[in-house]
């Protein structure tokens, strides 16, 4: 084997009392995909940030092309040919797509931006990642999925020798993800070293040449090509085997709890949506990026009120002009973008968990502290939230634990209709199972669950029924017995026959 492009030796890093990395080592060779897996909070992102010059290690050394180097800044990392796609989106919303792709590396002549080159080169990378937006479009106007693709395009445009991707597919649907995986293989064949982090173990299995498993900030084991299997990875990650991945059981379905008729969302005013959810049902909502799934949930939760249409909850007509109205009707929404929509990053776990239930536990407007504490004591172990304490600011939790906080906050409201937008985005398999279990439990207790997911495997595994959106309208509905990857994808990319069948 060739010599490694990049090596990390005995890297340690701690944050105000938390030891995130305890002497981790890792090496990346040219022309390989190295997958890094581990539970939430294992230290993957921290290690990657160190490799890409965003953070500095407390101890340990970095070796680039056989020489020990300090990578003190992003710019230095780029000079060594190391690029990182962060786990969270990091784009300047007020700039256009082209500007974001080349931010910090603009082609220029003595400081003057070469706008023409940016545009032509941006077009090329955008096409490579399969995103059909103009380089002049404002990033703030794009959906999360589209923004994620912009991030990928940005990293691609570096022509890096080592390309690190921290959960690039977490907000991509299957279709886009496949484009990305093809792209990665192409890069690999050209000799790029790729570090790939994902909680979608199926993806990893199909892609990785090598797997490095981290646990609690330490190396937990290494798997080579033929050793890579779902079971082996899980074993190393959690230290035990995990049985039956999707704990789905069909339930008795009851009354109609949610009845949506003639709903027009603001994002797709030209399309109407009708559907029903029954008690005890788990319904998946599938579709491509930008199909309008999030907009549909936002409308049902009153965040962006619908233009038209009627919604009945348990037979009663409800007005959904604000989230509070939706909450009063028994609806809860776990939003797609936890950082911006779900969490108060600087506030503690306690405050984040209780915020949505405060108004029901108040006495004359005063906080009920005892109930608030009780809620934390119930939710944290139930969801296995790993935090230094109830007061730890959630910004210091790992992504998966943050996600659990958002889910816990809504679980606490005991909703009758539970809407979840990408509930397992960035969540490790252990936590995923917890979330699935919770969804099951809710359904078993008579709630209706509607969840959006871009992970087809998850849709197939967890749904009693799948609704598929295409360009803002329901292109079809599949019962569990008819579910298959092909059937969903066909509806998501909208073969015209099915459109006719769905109600308009």
């Amino acid at each position: 084997m060739a010599s490694p492009l990049l090596e990390a030796r005995q890297i340690s890093k701690s944050f105000a009392g938390v030891r995130a990395l305890k002497g981790v080592s890792l090496s990346v060779y040219p022309g390989e995909v190295l997958a890094v897996v581990g539970e939430n909070g294992a230290g993957k992102s921290t290690l990657m940030k160190i490799l890409a010059g965003v953070q500095r290690p407390d101890s340990g050394e970095l070796v680039v092309d056989g020489a020990v180097r300090t990578i003190g800044s992003v710019q230095e990392a780029l000079r060594f040919g190391i690029a990182l796609i962060h786990q969270e989106l990091n784009l300047a919303e007020t700039l256009d797509v082209g500007a974001n792709i080349f931010l910090g590396r603009e082609p220029h002549r003595c400081g003057w931006v070469d706008a023409v080159r940016i545009e032509t080169e941006a077009r090329i990378v955008l096409e490579r990642v399969g995103l059909s937006v103009e380089p002049g479009a404002l990033v703030g106007d794009l959906t999360i999925g589209q923004q994620q693709l912009v991030e990928i395009a940005k990293a691609l445009s570096v022509n890096a020798r080592v390309l690190i991707m921290d959960e690039p597919t977490s907000s991509l649907s299957d279709h886009e993800a496949k484009v990305l995986l093809r792209l990665i293989r192409e890069l690999r064949s050209k000799g790029t070293g790729i570090v790939y982090i994902s909680h979608r173990l199926g993806e990893v299995q199909g892609l990785a040449d090598r797997v490095e498993v981290l646990r609690d900030g330490d190396n937990a084991g290494r798997l080579l090509r033929e050793e890579i299997s779902h079971g082996a990875m899980v074993q190393l990650m959690v230290g035990r085997a995990l049985a039956q991945f999707y704990p789905h059981e069909p339930h008795e379905t009851g009354e109609v709890v949610l009845d949506v008729v003639g709903l027009r969302t603001r994002a797709n005013p030209g399309k109407v949506v009708d559907f029903q959810l029954r008690a005890g049902e788990i319904v998946g909502l599938a579709g491509l990026v930008g199909a309008g799934r999030s907009e549909l949930l936002d409308a049902l939760f009153g965040v962006v009120p619908a233009l038209q249409g009627t919604v009945r909850v348990s037979g009663e007509l409800v007005e959904l002009r604000s989230p509070r109205m939706a909450m009063d009707a028994g609806i809860a929404l776990v939003p797609e973008d936890r950082k911006h929509q779900g969490l108060f990053l600087e506030m503690g776990v306690r405050e984040n968990l209780s915020i949505a239930s405060l108004h029901r536990e108040q006495t004359g407007g005063f906080l009920n502290r005892a109930k608030e504490r009780a809620l934390c004591e119930e939710m944290m172990p139930a969801l296995r939230i790993k935090a230094a304490g109830v007061e730890q600011p959630v910004q210091f939790l790992s992504g998966g634990n943050q996600q659990k906080v958002v889910i816990g906050k809504w679980l606490a409201t005991r909703p009758g209709v539970f809407l979840l937008d990408e509930p397992t985005r960035g969540v490790d398999i252990g936590a995923k199972q917890e979330i699935y279990r919770l969804m099951e439990e809710l359904a078993a207790n008579g709630a209706a669950v509607l969840f959006v997911s871009s992970d087809l495997e998850e849709i197939l595994g967890m749904s009693d029924r799948v609704l598929v959106l295409h360009e803002g309208r329901l292109s079809g509905e599949l019962l569990r017995k008819d579910l298959s990857e092909e059937a969903v994808m066909r509806l998501a990319t909208a073969a015209h026959t099915e459109v006719a069948a769905s109600s308009i």
Binding site: A16, P335, F344
Partner: protein, 329 residues
């Protein structure tokens, strides 16, 4: 609380230094004066603190102080309105202004800076309009009413507590309870941290924002009344000028972040007191007062910088300790 330690330390240092340099600083008369002034500015600062906590800003409060401060004597002595009616009118006006700001900001989504800047220009202009730029005041009348601001309550032998202190105490206690013990206070803090997440959490963000502006203007109105009762007359051109800056500075010194979501009432009180003690110090200790503002500016800056540096040293020490203990363990 920890966040307020630095500024509290600065206050203590300034007090000790002044007491050493001037015998009069700790005299009952002077302490009473400083307390009264701090109380008046404290009320304004708490008000603007609420707005800052939601991530907004209120530049209009100096002008609200002016409007109310001119309107009250004008209504009473020029228009000869009965006292309850006049008080009701100024209360309605100041709360109404807050409502107006809040609605423009939430319903029309105009930037708070713009809305309240226009307010700053507008309300003083209105006061100048209806008084025709004349000074208005109570003269020798309304002595009893004025006791609200000038009155004293015996406390220790030879040391009385100025009346505005009681208003401040009331306002501060209510504000602290509201902010820390009610769900609405929690909503305000959350909304300041992340308005979008607040919306997604079912917090009535618009109503809470409006409420913050109403509180701010309302307290500015109360401040205006107390100020004019204290000073006895108001000149529309300069009454309350720059008070918004002092109030905002006090709030920010006291730990409110202009990015929203942070702030404590105790901190705001310390900040407001510090500003007043500093001004008092300068008149007591120096014989020139034209560098007063320069000194205030410099002291605040030095204080904030020292606070920041101290925090860094502490953080570094803590980090070193963690490293040590972990490598030992």
């Amino acid at each position: 609380m920890k966040k307020n330690l630095g500024i509290f330390g600065l206050l203590v240092v300034v007090c000790v230094v002044t007491a050493l340099l001037s015998d009069s600083f700790l005299s009952a008369y002077n302490v009473e004066n400083v307390l009264r002034r701090s109380a008046l500015f404290g009320i304004l600062s708490i008000g603007v603190g609420f707005v800052i906590i939601t991530g907004g800003i209120d530049l209009s409060l100096g002008s609200v102080v002016c409007l109310v401060g001119c309107a009250l004597p004008w209504l009473l002595t020029v228009q000869h309105w009965p006292l309850p009616l006049a008080l009701l009118a100024v209360a309605a006006v100041s709360l109404g202004i807050g409502l107006f700001h809040g609605l423009l900001i939430t319903k029309l989504r105009i930037q708070p800076f713009i809305v309240t800047l226009c307010g700053l220009l507008l309300y003083r202009g209105v006061a100048r309009g209806f008084t025709a730029d004349q000074t208005v005041g109570f003269g020798t009348e309304f002595k009893t009413l004025r006791l609200l601001s000038t009155g004293k309550v015996p406390f220790l032998p030879g040391f009385d507590l100025p009346a505005p202190l009681f208003f401040l105490a009331l306002v501060a206690i209510l504000a602290a309870l509201f902010l820390n013990r009610t769900i609405f206070g929690r909503y305000l803090l959350a909304l300041g941290r992340n308005p979008q997440a607040a919306t997604y959490s079912g917090i009535p963000t618009q109503r809470m924002t409006v409420l913050a502006y109403v509180i701010s203007s309302g307290l500015a109105g109360l401040g205006g009344v107390l100020f004019v009762l204290d000073v006895n007359s108001a000149q529309p051109v300069d009454f309350g000028n720059f008070y918004e800056l002092y109030a905002i500075a006090a709030a920010v010194l006291g730990g409110c972040s202009l990015r929203g979501g942070e702030g404590s009432i105790v901190g705001i009180l310390i900040g407001a007191t510090l500003m007043q003690v500093l001004r008092n110090t300068i008149t007591l200790v120096t014989t020139r007062n034209n560098v007063e503002f320069a000194i205030i500016g410099a002291v605040i800056l030095v204080g904030v910088v020292a606070d920041e540096l101290a925090r860094r040293v502490a953080a570094r020490r803590r980090a070193a300790r963690v490293l040590l203990s972990s490598s030992a363990g």
